[in-house]
Amino acid sequence: MAVDARATAPRVRPEQAERQQARRRGLQALGLSGPGLFWLIVFFVLPFVFIVIFSFLTRGATGNVVWEFTLGNYARLFTDSVFWQVFLRSIWYGLLTTVGCLLLGYPMALFIALSPPRWRTLLIFLILIPFWTNFLVRTYAWMVILNNNGLINTILDSLGFAKLTLMNTQGAVMLGLIYGELPFMVLPLYASLDRFDFTLIEAAQDLGANKWRSFLRVMLPLTMPGIAAGSVLVFIPTVGQFVVSDLLGGAKVALLGNLLQQQFKAAQNWPLGSAIAVVCMAVLTVAVILYFRSSNEEDR
């Protein structure tokens, strides 16, 4: 039938046909991406545009936003040492959480990938189970465990040991962050390891590489896309966290998320909050682009 159609169709110049085809493809692409695009524009691009506009406006006396252009918000950020402290701390916590999740998550993902197929689904399911419960509730659960009269201290006390200060420490915040973000590291790593051809490890060992070296030279570089994806998924939300630092860190360990929340709610300074959000976003975007570029090169 296709042959018949070509035989009877009016002769079309090849370039013309090509152009028609390109137009058709373009329409098709628009049709497919349309709904998602609409969603992004309404719920992401527009709000972000508002944020950017707000960041150049002035705070009114009652916490309202006054339409008066100023660079003052940014000037304040770049000179305020508190902001930079929180910013650097957030980045630092983000990095620590990412490394922690990577060190814990890689062996987990590897274990799942090496399990018999019928176990894998169950293990992945177990990784996902915490999502059935709200994150806030799970963080409260940690408070119950770490509290001065919490589970751990009750046990220590009954065994005759001294109680430990676990709550409202940096350690508690790190614990909460790693706990919360771990699945986001494990899942992309598992996806990567699941596709990994383990014969390559045998090949490396066959060529004289011991286990550690075959991991470093073969498995690690080939699962880099999973590491990159997992790291980004962990790093970015961590930097913006405020629940964990609030509940497990007390008021002591403020992260960017806390600062933002504070500006938008307690301090009623939307323009300054917006400026913080814009700077964070800019810095993180650049960091992520750089990261992906380096990891893609590895893959290529």
Binding site: L200, E202, A203, A204, Q205, D206, S214, P221, E298
Partner: protein
């Protein structure tokens, strides 16, 4: 006589849980030999290879390389290299980096690595492909990279796990000869695992035929094909016709067998068998003749009156399926097309009557 053994398997057993994959296998592979392990899938050949490489450890018995017991030596401490069925080239490294990998792991000086990588590329005629990534190469080229990557390490023995399996027919034939000539040039012992009998026959100095974890026969290609020691080997290597029967008479290394079809067959006994033994007589299709007269045989020994059922002209031969008259039994016989002609009359036709005959030395009497 310096019949030094490069590799020896001593009464090796390998069990995976309940399953015994390798069942008391012993074999000795000579220095510089092209040795094949041949058998259907699941016969234990790949497991044997993996035990030599060190990926699996024997449940009992021992693997010796150059006379040294391997025990639990890990793969990276054995001077043995493998060409994997899937090639297992490192996709993130260039061809040259792949080939250099083994040398780097063995801490060979940089200058020497460069030299040997160059040699390796030349050995497999891929001099211009050093900078390519494996996925930019064809299947045959990837195969050659895998060979070079293993051979640059100058292993005591090269293990090849069905390396030609993924190639198309034509390339496969080419690679068979290339592998053989490569082996002769480098002089390294090759142990080749395959389920393809033609591959094994073409390349090997010796073949071990395996089934259900056991070695059934070890011998040269001609020994394996012409003097199989059991029904399985005769069946697995090449094509053959089987006739079941009982030994009624023994004379030197020949036996007279009374067949289930009611006549008598005189055949050669590759291994002595007792009078009255239930046997299978194997007659290769190219070793029987289809003729118009019975050749004046006595008592119908080694002769069946037959009718032609099907004729397949395949160029070099005419492959004919005949049916024994008065019996529900087909035989295949291959007649070489020795004369060039278009005359249909010169070839056998369906329905033609004839006699299937063969000399006694072409019928092998085998234990069931």
């Amino acid at each position: 006589m310096s019949d030094s053994h490069d590799i020896e398997l001593r009464d090796v057993v390998k069990e995976f849980g309940e399953v015994r994959a390798v069942d008391h296998v012993s074999m000795q592979i000579k220095d510089g030999e092209f040795f094949s392990m041949l058998g259907p899938s699941g016969c234990g050949k790949t497991t044997c290879l993996r035990m030599i490489a060190g990926f699996e450890l024997p449940s009992a018995g021992d693997v010796l390389i150059k006379g040294k017991s391997m025990g639990a030596t890990p793969p990276y401490r054995r001077n043995v290299n493998t060409v994997f069925q899937s090639y297992a080239l490192f996709p993130h490294m260039s061809v040259a980096e792949n080939i250099a990998f083994g040398l780097q792991m063995r801490k060979v000086p940089k200058a020497e690595i460069a030299e040997r990588v160059k040699e390796g590329l030349a050995l497999v005629r891929l001099e211009k492909f050093g900078d390519r990534k494996p996925r930019q190469l064809s299947g045959g080229q990837q195969q050659r990279v895998a060979l070079a990557r293993a051979l640059v390490n100058h292993p005591d023995v090269l293990l090849l796990d069905e390396p030609l399996g993924a190639l198309d027919q034509k390339l496969r034939k080419e690679m068979q000869f290339e592998l053989k000539s490569l082996q002769e040039r480098v002089g390294i012992t090759f142990i080749f695992v395959t389920h393809d009998q033609e591959e094994a026959l073409t390349m090997s100095d010796r073949i071990a035929v395996m089934s259900h974890g056991k070695v059934l026969q070890i011998g040269s290609p001609t020994e394996i094909y012409e003097r199989p020691n059991c029904r399985f080997v005769a069946d697995f290597i090449g094509e053959t016709n089987f006739i079941n029967g009982t030994i009624r008479q023994l004379e030197n290394s020949y036996a007279l067998v009374e067949t289930k079809l009611g006549n008598k067959v005189r055949g050669f006994l590759p291994r002595p068998l007792p009078l009255g033994a239930e046997v299978t007589v194997s007659i290769r299709p190219e070793k029987a003749r289809l003729s118009v007269d019975d050749g004046h045989v006595v008592d119908n020994i080694n002769c069946y009156p037959v009718t032609v059922e099907r004729v397949a002209y395949i160029g070099s031969d005419t492959r004919i399926l005949v049916r024994a008259n008065g019996a529900d039994r087909d035989f295949s016989v291959w007649e070489p097309n020795t004369r060039s002609t278009l005359d249909r009359e010169e070839y056998w036709q369906r329905g033609d009557a004839g006699f299937l005959t063969w000399p006694a030395e072409n019928a092998l009497v085998l234990a069931d």
